[in-house]
Symmetry: D2
Subunit: 337 residues, 4 copies
């Protein structure tokens, strides 16, 4: 951390900052420029508290030098993390496609979808039992009954399951039926939930908040990693911008940027990002070309009857067609599908 | 809701849409324009599901006509809602200032602050026992011990307390020590928490998500109101934009806009919005001039030692000075302080 | 356009709206719902002026049905537009890469770059003589002298040139030395410039404003097309969001969305979007996978000495390596490079 | 400027950075921390070019310490700048209201408005002859004929005029009829225009770009100030965010922040910010309470017939009512109207 003194700061003010630095257990290193005195704060505790210095007299600003995350960082863990689920190695050379409906709606719907996807080569089925919805009047998921259907479909088809948890109390129950716990965009900063998922030790997928920076996503990951649960994937699913023609703005630059900063697998959800099934294949191929380790795609056998997110769900036949195109791109960038 | 058919949609496609409308229990009203056929969906169920129509063949887009919120709306409840707390009528002619530190840090700190604020005329003390923090390595609040200190300060000073809840399980405990439950910006879409606060029947303050629209804020309010808990205030606390010089961008247009759309009191938090105590007085006066019913302001006796948010906390002497200036503006706009 | 009357609007108010509609030369079509009366405005003039209705008594809102752009639309021109430049067909099956330095800096720099790119198979060289810079103290380009160097490099190498115009007066001079006129992100709404480029009849590349919606980009295109200049390409170059880790947020969803809405070729500039050469190859491959018709890439022989944008410029050897990888992706999606 | 070396950077890399610093005419100051070596770049040339260092081997990041603007800064010019126009001192104790229609539409319209405003105490009339419009099919202003009407209204009423310039060539002609040249939000980064306005020496009002940071606004101001034209005001008019209920998001925090950073008067335009006349009085009062030096307000005698921006225009009677309320707030904050 660097403390920049204001122009004309007095020697006494500089001394006071240095004293404070030492009080907090760091070393101070002075550097007197032509216009400003600059004081380096030397030490390795993290995170340092900027405010402790910013409010002292004569201080103009405080500049952070170290990244605020640690366990997620490549400095800490240089190799790629691979999360094994149901024989699939997420984060390795292979690209994983997790697909399925937004929500479990009925036994018939989830079974029909599961068999269609299995035939298409999918090994991880996505489907929610608990659905956070903007409106209290919208379908909120089947809850416990949905979990039972997921357990059934897993037993019958052998597909692994990824399903959303929205409160700490759900973690145990969802964890019994699902192989991967999904933390949705609205819960990226639900720290009680992050702690619970960390403690569970289960593989987890953490979605970027629609309003969150990459750094904040990594800080949320840090909550889970700090419980020694390293079976974690990150998911870019679009951020909120001024553009309204698409549901969100998919930030594919986040793929190479996150892979450079951290060691966790990065998954892309093109369905929520675009909000429109017609653009999902193009963005799926783009995600893989950008270096994503996997896709999370909404598929519904009858999108026009879906109780949620029908607009962005692919029909199974269109999904199959898309998989072939994604495979070609995967191979072109030296990956496998 | 209005369904806009694409140019050249066939009669069969138009018929299919009309059939679907009737199947779902609405009436259809056709309007054939020069370029497009437009079909009105008539009925009063809310929310209607747009997707049911958007995916039918020949449909170009679906336009929502009714607002998606109901209980929060002026249509439903034309008069201003007033929330009485500790003899203060929030949402009436008077303007309420809730002030205090970000977090309870110690008995000494909270008592010193409480007495200073009481002397300044404040009747509601803000302070958090549970603090959601971006970093797992930051101070997370004193938890239960903090609640005990809040109970003590309330008993001793007679101040009412507003304090944050971050999980459904905390609602009972916080509700015992606090008069108003605060739902923070990160939890605006934590629906389990909204349900729990609604059920508690306690007065509540719901902060706008830092990247939420006003309409989404009202939809979250709807979760609480749907439990017949009308003792609810909304709080504008700054939204996230591309501007980084201020911590957030305070959206004061939201004050007259929300007051026009809904009947709930609107409070403004200038401390989190600006992130800098130097700008808090100017924005506090502006908030009152814009029509806010109250302010939520961070005050700390020793900001440079604060464990969180010190940068945006006013010292008590500066707060006292600010109150006088805010009072003058309140009177200029026909309000009282 | 549809006029939605407020709940409880009187018959007289409805009549007044209908009269106004007829006065303006449209037909009115009434539809009385349970809660609201809705009035369709029928006619094909574009753009209709919403304000004419929104301010009448009893009107709650006005909803636009038709898209505001016409000449850019697929309705008007269903086939893909192909812009031929120097034997390259931009917008056809082939993918074009335009590459070069941000600015012409010297004869040596531009010649060295041109020959390196030519050898790599590039046929269109990008380089600016006039540079709009945030700071008046930054390098602003070589101006007229830069144009002379561009003319020289074109004559000597046979490469076509794309170069930026920033004022209407520059159009003639830049048009003599360049084959494609580039309109930069800051000038997307510089309507005098758009008119001048339209009148010139020269091939043009219009960059999306960093703060502009896709619809606004198409409206700006409309200014150029309205002069019967259809030799136009659009360019997505990143938009401004709250994320600051990357220079801008590249909006690749815009590629399939724009190609669906309009008939113009869509080019992607991954250099300005990311602001970091390390991420340019990944985003270039992603852009092609998403359906882009071409790339605009910054290449500089000595990025660390560049007078502008060095951080995001590839060295020629890295560019050559990237071209091979982009080619593999192009083939995987059925395109050619 | 500070160069942060990456963990494990070699001594040779550190030396290379120091050599580069000296080559560019600065001094280097080393500071070796536990994890990182940090190198201060000492000198007062501005702006320093970060790229020169960021691309050297072993460099992790470069941190700017000095503000990039100079002439606009309080460091350079500590006192408030006052711009005298027609006997009004903009930036002094008094608050100035500039009001009028978006565009001159006819002799009758501009005269009726001018007399109504004069009676209400207004001394500066706003009205555009050249209107930049998103759509080429919208009304673009009366052009030269509009300027003649402005000259006439000025001669007849004695009101000063503020009117927009959109190209460098218009500066002379608009400057003859208008007392203040307005640079619109779309032209904040039209550097050729900024130079022309700077050279003209005329009083000018520079609007913040709808997606520009405060720092960028000040850099654009720097273009004008660098021509020794200090008769400049800044204008906050709303920025673009994800919120769509209001036309833009008025950033009132920019008022105290800009007044702290720079010495120029700050004007607020609540009409474009909200896009709705109903919210203009509330935001006008808020702007004055926040410390604005003036307001720019749209007034039209018949908003429902306005050729542009009718939705956000106040009728003269409502404007008169608003002025009284704004005056009360101005007095409450120690200003005059």
């Amino acid at each position: 951390m660097i403390v920049v003194m204001s122009r004309g700061a007095s020697q006494a003010e500089v001394d006071a900052v240095c004293d404070r630095i030492k009080d907090l257990g760091y070393a101070a290193h002075l550097s007197a420029g032509k216009e400003r005195t600059i004081i380096g704060v030397i030490g390795d505790k993290r995170p340092m508290d900027e405010t402790a210095f910013r409010l002292l007299d004569g201080v103009e600003k405080v500049v952070r030098i170290l990244k605020p995350f640690k366990l997620a960082s490549r400095d800490f863990h240089p190799e790629d993390t691979v999360v094994p689920v149901n024989g699939v190695r997420i984060g390795g050379k292979g690209i994983v496609i997790m697909a399925g409906p937004c929500a479990v709606e009925s036994r018939a719907q989830i079974m029909e979808t599961a068999y269609a996807l299995k035939e298409a080569g999918v090994r991880i089925l996505r489907a929610g039992a608990f659905k956070p919805r903007t409106s209290p009047y919208s379908f909120q998921g089947l809850g416990t009954q949905g979990l039972e259907l997921l357990a059934e479909v897993r037993a019958e088809t052998g597909l692994a399951i990824i399903s959303e948890v929205t409160t700490p109390e759900q973690v145990a129950a969802v964890g019994e039926c699902a192989d991967i716990l999904q933390i949705g965009t609205r819960n990226m900063s639900n720290y009680a939930l992050l702690h619970a998922v960390g403690e569970s030790g289960k593989p987890a997928l953490l979605k970027r908040g629609m309003m969150s920076t990459m750094e904040e996503l990594l800080m949320s990951a840090e909550y889970i990693l700090s419980h020694d649960n390293y079976r974690l994937m990150l998911c870019e699913r679009g951020i909120r911008t001024f553009e309204t023609y698409t549901r969100n703005t998919l930030d594919l630059s986040a793929v190479p940027a996150l892979k450079q900063m951290c060691h966790l697998p990065v998954i892309v959800d093109p369905s929520h990002a675009t909000g429109n099934w017609e653009w999902v294949p193009a963005l799926s191929m783009a995600a893989v070309a950008a270096g994503a380790d996997g896709l999370l795609v909404e598929v519904h056998p009858h999108p026009e009857q879906a109780l949620s997110d029908g607009m962005q769900s692919l029909r199974p036949d269109r999904f199959v067609e898309m998989v072939a195109r994604v495979r070609a791109v995967a191979e072109a960038v030296g990956r496998e599908l």
